[in-house]
Symmetry: C2
DNA sequence: ATGTGTTATTCTGAGGGAAGAATAACGAAT
DNA sequence: ATTCGTTATTCTTCCCTCAGAATAACACAT
């Protein structure tokens, strides 16, 4: 009836356990633009320690590194996305938007008689 | 490449705030078979108080009642699904499986080159 | 009246997760 | 050597959620 209700979906990828989801994805996006994990986590008010844990867990579950990071140097170092992370992120984003588009399309048909 | 990774998605319905998701759905399913909210919550080791809150919040957000419940009587009362809940649950289940089917199909295409 | 087993409702206590502190290591520049 | 700002890592503290307790109301049976 009214456009009052809408679907919201969260897409996660599991191997033996959880290995990728919206949190890591957002983190990667911000690392890409900030070129630093610290700056990335701060920009989304996430504690650095948690950001670091999240990344590490994801890397362990996936089996490859997401960040290439350098420490030290004049500006202290930084982090950028590994090529695999770049590809994974792109794939994930495409996948998510396809899913959301589909979810949007099917929604009204599925719930028109009740919502 | 290997079938090691798979998509997992959670589908929620939002109005102004969250109003329906997998938790409520599971609860409704169990109320349907147990004919009691207490039994339903116990069967999924959820505290009754929480089950009740979950249902109440969902009802408030949706704008209609999910349960028709009777109190008192020899066996203490019970609860069953309202007609609207019945329809909503059916619609939600169909919607979810369509989404999951689609997610499954698209998955390998989206991630074949990286996972 | 009393007993029974549920719904309805609020409150309290404990556990898990997250934020932030603390610390170490790093490497380029000065 | 010292400074600087990051990555890397662990630990403690706090908050929030959740489970379970407690209480009331209910209506049917006996």
């Amino acid at each position: 009836m009214e456009k009052k209700f809408r679907p919201v979906l969260t897409v996660r990828i599991f191997g033996e356990e959880k290995c990728f989801g919206p949190g890591v994805a957002e983190l990667l996006r911000r690392v890409r633009s900030e070129k630093s994990l610290r700056a990335a986590s701060a920009s989304m008010q996430m504690a650095y320690s948690k950001a670091w844990t999240v990344i590490r867990n994801s890397e362990a579950a996936l089996g490859f590194k997401l960040l290439v990071s350098t420490t030290g140097g004049k500006h202290g170092g930084g982090a950028t996305l590994s090529p695999e992370a770049e590809k994974l992120l792109a794939a994930y984003e495409g996948y998510c938007s396809a899913l959301r588009r589909f979810a949007e399309e099917e929604f009204s048909a599925a719930f028109s008689d009740i919502l």
